[in-house]
């Protein structure tokens, strides 16, 4: 029997935590766990409502709207939670929608 791996997600600004099964999208898993630690919009990488900053941990993403995640933001750990597949436990910060301070080019 293969026990599915789960990753723990800590949302520091909301002091909430939930777990995401390996291979599942972060926001999708949060909704299934009936948690409200990240804002939910389109769930498709288009609207930017679920924008987070990953402070610790590994992940990969599906394609995200350039309007919300510019290249330098992606490098700084910003991502759209609806497109994020965690690869380890993560420490994240939510509520970065329309956070203009992150959008300026470095």
């Amino acid at each position: 029997m293969n026990a599915q791996r789960h990753f723990q997600i800590q949302v520091t600004n909301r002091q909430q935590a939930f777990s995401v099964p390996e291979g599942e999208l972060l926001l999708h898993a949060m909704e299934k766990a009936c948690q409200q630690a990240i804002q939910v919009g389109c769930r498709g990488g288009g609207c930017g409502l679920c924008k987070i900053k990953v402070l610790e941990g590994a992940f990969h993403t599906k394609r995200m709207s350039k309007a919300h995640i510019k290249e330098h933001e992606a490098e700084a750990g910003f991502a759209l939670a609806c497109r994020v597949f965690p690869e380890s436990d993560l420490v994240i910060e939510s509520d970065h929608f329309n956070d203009l301070s992150t959008q300026q080019t470095a």
């Binding site: 769930r43 288009g46 609207c47 409502l49 599906k62 995200m64 309007a67």
Partner: protein, 307 residues
């Protein structure tokens, strides 16, 4: 006053993944794939439409709407309307025939809210899909998913609603069928029609320019809207809200998202509009009921989830 603008002709939607989008619009909405071009764009239609296509999907880095087009009565209307738009001080670009497959020349311009619109008069007509024009049967077999019958309208968010009203009503000949007015008397929503439909395009006030809220497709009945809701659950498609009814236009509706986060609507029923009808007014104090007639309150997403 009618100026020769006939109906919504097409909308070009940007998507992050063309294959996922194709599956969504074809298998779930039930649009029919008609063609593709060397830019990688995919051309789709709903089955009752006589023109070859009404939805164009294009892969891009940023979801949203490239442009929405209206079909006009004839080529002469294009030139006279282009001239009138230019007289407002706006730039009109003429795109040559064939720039979109099997479509005639298009007059393209950016409206005061920042959205790109175009007018055209000629597009290849392939007729209703799967139905003969002589002794036609009621409907074709082999339709998929929600079996959307037509591309109906778009709703967009932007800042300069009064500028759009002048352009669409006074120049392009649309009627203002419905509006939402805030306590200071400012318009915060416009529902505009070039036909008997309750709306062919709508705008809601928003600080940013050029935001896309949804593209909407018509279904025949409330039962079809409920079936659409079932299909959304069966396919684990991202839901926004519904099934419910709008106060504005009174359509029965459900909102959901395509795989790139562009909002779609399918709806049935709703009011009609003749040119002698007075504009219907909703007050902003009742905005919740105006948008979602049953819940009587807005979900936050309706105002913030845009592409």
């Amino acid at each position: 006053m009618k100026k020769g603008v006939m109906r919504p002709g097409h909308v070009q939607i940007r998507v992050l993944d063309l294959e996922e989008a194709r599956k969504h619009y074809v298998d779930l909405l039930g649009l029919i794939e008609m063609d593709s071009d060397d830019q990688g764009r995919v051309y789709l239609k709903a089955w009752t439409e006589v023109d070859k296509y009404s939805v164009i999907l294009k892969e891009a880095d940023e979801p949203g709407m490239d442009f929405m087009a209206f079909k006009c009565l004839n080529e002469a209307v294009l030139d006279s309307l282009a001239e009138e738009i230019r007289a407002l001080g706006m730039t009109v670009t003429e795109l040559p025939a064939g720039d979109l497959k099997d479509c005639g020349r298009r007059m393209q311009f950016v409206v005061p809210t920042g959205h790109t619109f175009e007018l055209f008069a000629t597009k290849e007509q392939t007729g209703k899909w799967g139905i003969n024009n002589v002794n036609p049967e009621a409907w074709p077999r082999g339709l998929k998913g929600m079996q959307a019958t037509r591309f109906d309208h778009c709703l967009m968010y932007g800042d300069d609603l009064e500028g759009n009203l002048t352009l669409f009503r006074d120049v392009l000949g649309f009627d203002l069928s419905e509006q939402v007015i805030d306590p200071e008397g400012n318009r915060i929503a416009l529902f505009l029609t070039a036909s008997m439909k309750a709306h062919d395009v709508a705008f809601i006030k928003h600080p940013e320019k050029n935001k896309f809220h949804h593209a909407s497709f018509y279904l025949d009945t409330w039962q079809d809207v409920l079936k659409a809701a079932d299909l959304i659950s069966m396919t684990d498609t991202s839901i926004d809200i519904g099934p419910t009814r709008h106060g504005l236009t009174h359509g029965q509706t459900i909102y959901f998202f395509d795989p790139s986060g562009n909002r779609n609507e399918v709806f049935a029923g709703g009011d009609y509009h003749y040119p002698d009808h007075e504009t219907v007014t909703w007050k902003a104090e009742q905005l919740g009921k105006a948008i979602f007639y049953h819940d009587r309150q807005l979900n936050e997403r309706f105002l913030t989830a845009l592409t």
